[in-house]
Subunit: 227 residues, 2 copies
């Protein structure tokens, strides 16, 4: 276990040292010549196991916070503890958004993980959202997203009965599965990265089994320019 501490004030670092010494942590202080201090503390060996770690670590942070309040005479604007990052876990819980924000999901298992000719396809199970489809690392669709699919389709507002429907994209099959229920005359779906595995996958209830049971003409081009 290691704690990295940045501060502008060397006396603050010195004031905190006793807390780390009580925990028998090894310490290194780097002076960055006027740009603050960086102190690194490493725990002793018996702090390596995660369950024990958590309570010890939490106590350590409580002690640090209390000491800091005293050293800074209560003059603290904000104290915030973020959940610890889990590095190197067997099941990856971090799936940042397309705009680069860090998001941790309650993923408990990998349902599917394969590279297709077009992209990496993952289906991960989340306790909150059910199965989540992740394409090339981008979260695409979760089982719990059915209300969104229905909202996109204007369900309840738009009458599909007997009409011709064109779906551009929609490769996960969710919109197709919903559209079929609304009795249109004909559905045409154009999808450039259609994959066997993407959605007519048995563990993917949000999309239904429509792509497994295609009727009518289907033209599935070969990868890389074939017809």
């Amino acid at each position: 276990h290691c704690i990295v501490l940045h501060t502008d004030c060397p006396s603050t670092v010195r004031g905190l040292q006793s807390i780390f010494q009580e925990q028998e942590m090894t310490e290194t202080v780097h002076d960055t010549e006027g740009h603050g201090y960086l102190a690194t503390f490493i725990g002793k060996n018996d702090m390596q196991h995660s369950k024990y770690d958590f309570s010890v670590f939490s106590q350590l942070l409580n002690a640090l916070e209390k000491k800091l309040k005293s050293l800074l005479h209560g003059n603290i604007m904000r104290v915030k503890r973020l959940p610890a990052l889990t590095r190197g876990a067997a099941v990856d819980r971090y799936w940042p958004t397309a705009d680069g924000r860090l998001v941790e999901y309650d993923i408990d298992r990998v349902v599917y993980d394969e590279d297709s000719a077009y992209q990496n396809i993952k289906i991960l199970h989340s306790q909150q959202f059910g199965n989540i489809l992740i394409l090339n690392g981008d979260v695409n669709l979760a089982e719990s997203d059915l209300p969104y699919t229905q909202a996109i389709m204007g369900r309840g507002k738009e009458n599909y009965t007997g009409k011709e429907v064109l779906i551009l994209g929609g490769g996960d099959g969710g919109i197709l599965a919903e559209a079929v229920k609304l009795k249109p005359k004909m559905i045409t779906m154009v999808e450039i990265s259609f994959q066997d595995a993407t959605c007519h996958f048995p563990l993917w209830p949000a999309c239904g089994s429509v792509l497994d049971n295609l009727k009518g003409d289907s033209k599935i081009p070969e990868p890389h320019g074939g017809t």
Copy 2:
């Protein structure tokens, strides 16, 4: 800027040193006696500014990844880079879930931040979700959540016209605002932590202005056991 590197293999740490040396980074290696190595590298002063940082940092990580692939003969199971955590920013973007998962929102401004007799009340603006209500650090409701409110109410399925409605909780006023639109005979709302500020707040369109324009009997108890 600082990079902390854990590894079980001291020769790997040594193999990576040249990359840090090229960046003129100061290095400290801690040997944790059989429990891995911890290497800390601190950047030079001109790496302090965030915009410059990002590209330099990204190049550094590219170089490290390339070197690691070579040192480990391509025998790498997974490479994952998480977005950098922003520490000490003026506007806090991290609002972990109630079950302790780390989530970063695209918060761009603080709309409201006050302590009431019951709790801390924050309204933060997110580009994606609009205004978000945060009570004691827990994300409660966002402007974009109107479809959820409607789903909870069984909108489109449940007929409210002329009925008596009981709302237990619902202090943000969102359900009340929606229920009023559906012409019930009478709404009774029981809420223990009702606050002036929580939701009849002008910048909170998701809740409507119902709580600003209460008609009928309202009994608002005093904090801490008053009547």
